[in-house]
Structure formats: structure tokens, C-alpha cells
């Protein structure tokens, strides 16, 4: 009997203390109530090799002015067809917790990528939210509100170079413009296996080769298999003549693609108006010139007659 009790105690203690002790911390802060809750990080974009583990701190701070129940869950990031960071790769210390007003929690999050995983991008969103219990006794139509923050987890597993799997379409909206603004369209299609941070600039040169404008733009993070587009406008007053526009698109660590487009700007409408005015002025001038000559002749004749 004593042996059984002793054995049961050992089992109980092993179960109780055998679990990994939660290491997360809830701390009181000196922040102010701001009617919001805050999450760090806002985004996790990382490179990792198969077999490696990424660890980061997830911090949730309650500044709502009241205590709240929080939850953490995962969901697909943007497109369910994207390769996903598998649930078994992810470890979070806890997924449900309570925070009093002005308290914050720091949780360890681990992403352990197994060996042998195909190289490329893997994606997931961590969703941190707070909810209130629905009150059924209210005598009115009611809408229960849940506020959430979604943190993108964007990973590049292995050293995957995007290589030539990026295509860029670039051009001015038209070949011929009467006047500005001149609008350029840049489309980037990411056909690689990883997400890319893409930005660029459009440079405009006149027919003398002098750079007359520089228009930077950013396409942000473009997921694999997705396209991003941006329009940039050149707001020059009275552009005139032939121009070349060159776009530089930078992606990844050192990738760069250049494209060019040619366009003409000529205010034909203004030229026609100008020609018309010149013609009109010439007609008027001719008419007054004729009258002047006639009057002069008359004057000369009258003077000759007197003499």
C-alpha cells in the first residue's frame, strides 16, 4: 500500500513538474491608457535554413483601459495556396491569456524548420485578438465586435535566388501626349518561389540626354506568384519634345531590372491656336497696311495737287 502511494506520488510529481514550465512574463507597465492594444513585432520577415530554429519575442500590451481576454491563432497569409509554415513548425508559449489594463505579456515564439524541406518561401499569419462575451439578454439587435491584429510571418527557407523569375512591364500610358501630366505604369510579376521587397524609380531624360525628373516608387512585399502594379505621374508644366523614360526596379538583395519607354509631348492644340492667331494678326496687319498705303497715296496726291 505504501509502495503504491509512493509510486502514485512519483507519477503525479513527474507529470506536474515534468511539463516545461511556462516562461512567459506578465508585467505591469508605466504606459498610459490609450484605448488600444499593441503587438510587437508588426511583421516578421526572415531567412532560415532547413534544420534551423528562429526564436523571437511576441509582446502584447493592453492599453484598452480595461482588462481583456486575448487569444493567438494562425491563419493563412493572404492566399491559401501559398506554401504554409506548418503548425508543427511553430511553437508559442501560450495561446490564451488575460491582461489587466496597462499590463503586457512577452511570449517566446519558435519556428523550427525541419531538415529536408523544399527550399522556397513559406507563409503564415499570427492573429492576436481580444473578444468580449456576447450578452444574450440585451433587448435589441446587437453586433458583437472582435478586434484583431494580424502579423505576417514571411520566411525564405534556404538561399533561394529569385534569378530571372521576375518580369517587368513598363510604359507611358500613351506614346503621344498633348501636355502633362505624363503617367507611367510599372507592373512587376514575381514568378519566383519567394516573396520580394520591390522598389524602383522612373528617370526621365529629354532629347539632349539630360535627366529632367526622378520618380521613386515602392511596391512593398510581393508574394510569389503575384503581380504588383503602380502608376507614377510626371507633373511637369509644359513638357515639350521627345523623352525617354527609364525604370529601375530593385528586388531582393541585389536584383535589378531596367526597362525603357519613349514618348512624345507636343501641344498641337496650342500650336494650332498660335498659328491661327498669327494668321489673324497677319490678316489684320495686311488690312491696315493697305488702308495706310491708300491714305498715303491720297495724301501725296493732295499735296502734289496743291503744289
Amino acid at each position: 500500500m505504501i509502495k503504491k502511494i509512493f509510486f502514485l506520488n512519483i507519477v503525479f510529481l513527474a507529470f506536474f513538474f515534468g511539463q516545461e514550465a511556462g516562461a512567459y512574463q506578465i508585467e505591469k507597465t508605466q504606459d498610459k491608457t490609450e484605448d488600444r492594444f499593441i503587438v510587437h513585432p508588426a511583421k516578421v520577415d526572415f531567412e532560415i535554413r532547413p534544420g534551423q530554429i528562429l526564436e523571437f519575442d511576441l509582446i502584447v500590451a493592453n492599453r484598452l483601459g480595461r482588462g481583456a481576454e486575448f487569444f493567438i491563432k494562425e491563419e493563412h497569409y493572404k492566399d491559401p495556396n501559398l506554401p504554409i509554415i506548418e503548425p508543427e513548425w511553430l511553437e508559442i508559449e501560450t495561446r490564451n491569456f488575460s491582461l489587466g489594463n496597462l499590463e503586457k505579456i512577452t511570449l517566446k515564439v519558435k519556428v523550427a524548420v525541419p531538415e529536408g524541406v523544399e527550399l522556397g518561401g513559406y507563409y503564415l499569419a499570427l492573429v492576436v485578438g481580444t473578444e468580449k462575451k456576447m450578452h444574450q439578454e440585451i433587448n435589441a439587435s446587437r453586433i458583437g465586435l472582435v478586434s484583431q491584429i494580424k502579423i505576417p510571418l514571411l520566411s525564405r527557407v534556404g538561399d533561394v535566388a529569385p534569378s530571372e523569375n521576375i518580369s517587368v512591364d513598363f510604359g507611358a500610358r500613351k506614346f503621344f501626349f498633348l501636355t502633362g501630366p505624363i503617367v507611367f505604369s510599372t507592373k512587376v510579376f514575381n514568378q519566383s518561389k519567394v516573396h520580394l521587397n520591390i522598389h524602383g524609380e522612373v528617370s526621365i531624360f529629354n532629347f539632349l540626354g539630360i535627366k529632367t525628373a526622378q520618380l521613386p516608387f515602392s511596391l512593398g512585399t510581393v508574394l510569389p506568384g503575384k503581380e504588383a502594379a503602380v502608376e507614377t505621374s510626371w507633373l511637369k508644366k509644359f513638357p515639350l519634345g521627345p523623352y525617354w523614360a527609364k525604370v529601375n526596379v530593385w528586388y531582393g538583395k541585389q536584383g535589378q531590372i531596367q526597362k525603357e519607354a519613349f514618348f512624345l509631348v507636343f501641344p498641337i492644340h496650342l500650336l494650332l491656336i498660335l498659328l491661327f492667331l498669327i494668321w489673324l494678326a497677319a490678316r489684320i496687319a495686311k488690312k491696315y497696311q493697305v488702308n495706310f498705303i491708300i491714305e498715303k497715296k491720297k495724301k501725296n496726291e493732295s499735296q502734289g495737287g496743291k503744289n
Binding site: 484605448d35 488600444r36 513585432p41 508588426a42 440585451i138 453586433i143 478586434s147 491584429i149
Partner: protein
């Protein structure tokens, strides 16, 4: 002899003066050193640092009770404001989704999601007299243009997320306010079961 004495006295005087000057200089120097020892200054440089972490935040408004109560038929409205902010200067977006389809349910009856003439294109509110529908619109500087700042409505689409606002990461002080306007209409010819109708709407902010 007298001359010799005078010379000796002169030399002694000179020596005395020189010795006096030496002592003055010596004690001055010692005094300076003593001052240094007593009112000594030494300097030490330390670095003070702080980390500003990248964050995203969202407010959590209270549940919305539509008003007025619907006397059999009629319209009831309500709204809530979410304030979104991040310090990454990153593009962001706000999405809404409903817990169920249709979104608004009672114990014995439901209120259909608002049906647009062109699916997914918000429009000026219009409900047939034989229908009852629940929809929403959005207003705010960063709300999607399709809502015309709160004039055009659309219906929820179950758990499919609908983007209602977004921006390029430049936030005004305190964050960007986005208001979601909810509306229910029970058509004049509609017989809607009386009771409380509830909808559960989730609003999600994220950086891109």
C-alpha cells in the same frame, strides 16, 4: 670693512629675496596641487540607450446596439470606430468578416446579408419591401473609395475577408480612424420574427 659688510648684507638681502620668491613659488605650486586633490574632478562617460520596437495597434470598440428598435418593419443603424496605427511606415490594411453567413441571426429567423446589384460593389442602400437585410458601409480618410465615405453599402460574405481601409503607413497623430456603419432594414411587406438578432463581426488590422 664697512664696504665689505655692506656687500655681504646686500648679498644676504638678495639671497633672502630669492629664497622668498622660491618659497612663494613652491607653496603656490603645492597649493595648486592641494586644490586639485581637494576639489578634484574626474569624468566618466556612459552610454544611455533605448530601443523603440516596431509595433502595430488597434482599438477595441464596444459592441454596437443598433437603434432604434424596429417596430415590425423599418430601419435601425449603428456604428463603431477603429483606430489603427503602426510605426513601421509600412503599408497596412483593415479587413472585416462575419462569423457566419448570413451574419445576423435570431433564435428563429435570420436577416439576410445585404445583396448588391453587382456582387461585391457597394451601392446606395436599397432593400425590397419583401426582404430584410443587414449591411455595412465605411468612412474615414483611409476607407476604400468604393464606400464613398459611408454612402455606399455592401453585405458581409461570411468568413471571407473584405478589405475596407488601407494606407501607406503615414499615420496622423494617434492613428487612423476608420468608422464602420451598420444598417438593418426590414421591408414594409416582410414578416420578420420578433426577437433579438445578433451578428459577430471581426475587424483585423495588418501590415503588408
Amino acid at each position: 670693512m664697512l664696504k665689505k659688510s655692506k656687500i655681504i648684507i646686500g648679498e644676504l638681502e638678495f639671497l633672502a629675496v630669492a629664497w622668498g620668491v622660491f618659497l612663494v613659488v613652491l607653496f603656490s605650486a603645492l597649493g595648486e596641487g592641494w586644490e586639485v586633490l581637494v576639489a578634484g574632478t574626474s569624468s566618466d562617460t556612459i552610454n544611455v540607450s533605448v530601443s523603440i520596437l516596431d509595433v502595430i495597434s488597434i482599438s477595441s470598440p464596444s459592441d454596437v446596439t443598433l437603434s432604434p428598435d424596429i417596430l415590425g418593419t423599418g430601419i435601425s443603424t449603428g456604428s463603431a470606430v477603429w483606430t489603427v496605427s503602426n510605426n513601421l511606415s509600412a503599408d497596412w490594411e483593415l479587413e472585416v468578416e462575419a462569423e457566419s453567413a448570413p451574419a445576423m441571426n435570431g433564435n428563429t429567423d435570420t436577416i439576410a446579408d445585404y445583396t448588391e446589384t453587382v456582387s461585391g460593389v457597394p451601392e446606395i442602400w436599397s432593400v425590397d419591401s419583401s426582404d430584410s437585410e443587414f449591411g455595412f458601409s465605411v468612412s474615414g480618410d483611409s476607407s476604400e473609395a468604393k464606400y464613398s465615405n459611408g454612402f455606399n453599402f455592401e453585405g458581409f460574405s461570411g468568413s471571407s475577408k473584405i478589405k475596407v481601409a488601407g494606407g501607406s503607413g503615414v499615420f496622423p497623430p494617434g492613428g487612423e480612424d476608420v468608422t464602420i456603419h451598420f444598417k438593418v432594414e426590414v421591408g414594409a411587406d416582410r414578416i420578420q420574427d420578433p426577437g433579438n438578432y445578433l451578428a459577430r463581426i471581426t475587424v483585423t488590422a495588418s501590415t503588408l
